[in-house]
C-alpha cells in the first residue's frame, strides 16, 4: 500500500489475508446463531458476506489501479462507469414511471453526470484547491456525491409518480379550474423533492451527535486529525445536499410532464405504473 500520509503520524495498519480469516469468525457466529435459533437467515447472510467480499476486493483492486496511474482518463473513465451503474440501478427501480428501463436510465445518467460533475469540480478545484487530476480526492468524493444523487433521484421519481396517482382527483380539480399541468403538479413536485432531501437532512441533523459519519471515521482511521476530518465531512454533506436537491429537482421536472397530455389532461394510462 502506498504511504500517502504526509500529514499523518503513522500509516494505517494494512489488512491482509490473515485478517480476513479472522473476520470469518464473527461471520460464523452470525450463521451459528441463525442455525441454532432456526432464524432462517443462513442463505441471506452467506450471500451478503460473499457478495461484500467479492465486490470490495474488486473495487479495491480497480480503484487501486486508478490511484496508481492517477491520470485524467482513468479517473474520468472510472467515474463514468460508476455513473452508468448508478443510473442503471436507479432506472430499474423507477423505469415504470418513465415508460421503460432504457429511457429512465438514459435520462437519469444524464442528470447524474451533470449534477455530480459540476459539484465535484466545484468541491475539488474551488473549495479544496486540488490543482491537478488526483484520484485520491476525485474518486471518493465523486462516488459519495453520485450514490446520494442516485438515491435522491429515485426517491423523487417514486414519490412524484405515487403522489400524482394517489391524488389524481385533486390534480384534475386543479386542471378543471384552468390550472396548467405545472400548476396542478406543483404541490406534488414539492412533496417529491422534500421526500428526496429527507435522508440527507436527517443525517445532517444528527451528524456527530448520534453517530459519526462514514467519511469522517474513515479519515480518522487513515490518520487525519479529527478536526480536519470533521471539516471534510461538512464539505461532503453540503456537496451531497446540493447534488440531492439538483438531482431531485431535475428528475421531478423531467418526469411530471409525462403524466399529462399536451392538452392539459391527466394521462391516466401513464399513472398505472
Amino acid at each position: 500500500m502506498p504511504a500517502e500520509t504526509a500529514q499523518t503520524a503513522q500509516p494505517v495498519i494494512a489488512l491482509g489475508v490473515w485478517h480476513l480469516l479472522l473476520l470469518a469468525v464473527p461471520a460464523a457466529v452470525v450463521i451459528s446463531v441463525s442455525v441454532a435459533l432456526k432464524l432462517g437467515q443462513c442463505k441471506r447472510v452467506s450471500i451478503a458476506v460473499i457478495r461484500a467480499l467479492v465486490q470490495l476486493v474488486a473495487v479495491g483492486l480497480v480503484i487501486g489501479w486508478v490511484f496508481m496511474h492517477n491520470t485524467w482518463y482513468w479517473i474520468v473513465g472510472l467515474l463514468f462507469v460508476m455513473t452508468l451503474i448508478a443510473a442503471g440501478t436507479a432506472g430499474s427501480q423507477v423505469g415504470k414511471w418513465f415508460s421503460g428501463f432504457a429511457r429512465a436510465s438514459l435520462l437519469l445518467s444524464m442528470i447524474l453526470a451533470a449534477v455530480t460533475s459540476v459539484m465535484l469540480l466545484y468541491l475539488g478545484a474551488a473549495v479544496i484547491g486540488v490543482n491537478r487530476w488526483d484520484a485520491r480526492y476525485l474518486i471518493p468524493l465523486g462516488g459519495m456525491l453520485l450514490g446520494n444523487a442516485m438515491t435522491a433521484a429515485v426517491l423523487a421519481a417514486e414519490r412524484i409518480g405515487s403522489e400524482l396517482r394517489q391524488h389524481a382527483g385533486d390534480v384534475e380539480a386543479y386542471l378543471a379550474l384552468g390550472a396548467s399541468p405545472r400548476q396542478a403538479a406543483h404541490p406534488f413536485i414539492r412533496r417529491a423533492i422534500a421526500a428526496a432531501l429527507t435522508p440527507t437532512l436527517n443525517a445532517m441533523m444528527i451528524v456527530g451527535v448520534v453517530k459519526l459519519p462514514g467519511m469522517m471515521t474513515g479519515q480518522m482511521l487513515g490518520g487525519s486529525a479529527p478536526f480536519q476530518a470533521a471539516m471534510y465531512q461538512l464539505l461532503i454533506l453540503i456537496g451531497i445536499l446540493t447534488c440531492d436537491t439538483l438531482a431531485a429537482t431535475a428528475t421531478s421536472i423531467l418526469l411530471y410532464r409525462r403524466f399529462f397530455t399536451s392538452d392539459w389532461q391527466l394521462n391516466r394510462a401513464s399513472l398505472r405504473g
Partner: protein, 266 residues
C-alpha cells in the same frame, strides 16, 4: 354567435379507453340556459360524457372495421365526431379559456388543503390575477350557495361534506362561467341537504342564464328540477327529451325498465 345558438353540440361522439367502448355515437345538443340531467346505471358513461365537455378527456375515433381504431380527434369531424361549445369547436378553444367558460364540479369535493377563501380565489391566483374587491366577492360567493361568510378563513377540509360541496360549487362559479358541469353534486349528502343544494343550483342557473349539465343518480331530483333528461345505457344515448315526457313515454323497454325499476329500488 347568435343569441339562441345551442351552448353545447355533440355529434357522433365516441370515447374509448383501450379496447373498451365507453361512449358510442353520442349526438345531442343543449340550449343556452337549459338544464340537462344525465342519468343511467353506474358504468354507463355519465361521468365520461361530462369529462369530454371541458376536455378533461379526449374524444376518440369510432372503432370502425378498416380505419385506425383510436386516436385523439377532438373537433376533427373528418374521422370521428366532434363537440362544439358556444359555437366554437372544442379543439379551437385555448384550453384555459375553455375550462373557465365551462366550469366543472367533480364528484369528490377537492379542496386541496386550503382555506375556504383560498379555494374561492384559486381561479384567480392560477392566472396571477388579484381582483381589488376580494372580500366582497368571497362574501357574495358564499352567500349565493347558502354558506355563512364567516366561514371564509376556515380550512376547507374540516367542513362537513355538504359544506364542502357548496364551497366547490361557489369556487366553480367565481369566474362567471357560461356552462356548469356537475358530476353527482348530491352524491354524498343527505336528502334534505341535496334538496337545498339543487334549489340553489336552480336559482343560480336562472339568475345568470347558466347552462347546466348535471349527472345524477336520483331520478326524483331530475323530476323536481325539470329541464331535459338524457338516459345513457351501456355507453349509448337511449333517450333524450323533456324530463316528464321521457318518464311518461320512454322510447324503448330498456329505458322504461331503468326509469321505473330504479324508482322502485330507491
Amino acid at each position: 354567435m347568435s343569441p339562441d345558438a345551442p351552448a353545447i353540440v355533440m355529434s357522433n361522439v365516441h370515447r374509448r379507453i383501450g379496447d373498451a367502448a365507453i361512449l358510442i355515437d353520442i349526438s345531442l345538443s343543449v340550449a343556452t340556459g337549459e338544464t340537462l340531467h344525465i342519468v343511467g346505471p353506474s358504468g354507463s358513461g355519465k361521468s365520461s360524457l361530462l369529462r369530454l365537455l371541458n376536455r378533461l378527456d379526449e374524444v376518440s375515433r369510432p372503432a370502425s372495421g378498416d380505419g385506425p381504431a383510436s386516436g385523439d380527434t377532438s373537433g376533427d369531424t373528418s374521422g370521428g365526431g366532434g363537440i362544439t361549445i358556444l359555437d366554437r369547436l372544442i379543439a379551437d378553444w385555448p384550453i384555459r379559456e375553455l375550462r373557465r367558460s365551462v366550469s366543472m364540479v367533480l364528484q369528490e369535493p377537492s379542496l386541496l388543503g386550503l382555506t375556504v377563501r383560498e379555494n374561492l380565489m384559486l381561479p384567480f391566483t392560477l392566472v396571477n390575477e388579484k381582483p381589488a374587491d376580494i372580500d366582497p366577492r368571497v362574501t357574495r360567493a358564499l352567500q349565493r350557495v347558502g354558506l355563512d361568510p364567516a366561514m371564509a378563513d376556515r380550512v376547507a377540509d374540516q367542513l362537513s361534506v355538504g359544506q364542502k360541496q357548496r364551497v366547490t360549487l361557489a369556487r366553480a362559479l367565481m369566474v362567471e362561467p357560461r356552462i356548469l358541469l356537475l358530476d353527482e353534486p348530491t352524491a354524498s349528502v343527505d336528502v334534505r341537504t341535496a334538496g337545498q343544494l339543487l334549489q340553489q343550483i336552480q336559482r343560480l342557473a336562472a339568475e345568470s342564464h347558466l347552462t347546466v349539465v348535471m349527472v345524477t343518480h336520483r331520478l326524483e331530483e331530475a323530476r323536481k328540477m325539470g329541464g331535459r333528461l338524457a338516459v345513457l345505457i351501456a355507453g349509448r344515448l337511449e333517450a333524450i327529451g323533456p324530463v316528464e315526457q321521457v318518464f311518461a313515454d320512454p322510447p324503448n323497454e330498456t329505458v322504461r325498465a331503468f326509469l321505473h325499476g330504479e324508482h322502485h329500488a330507491r
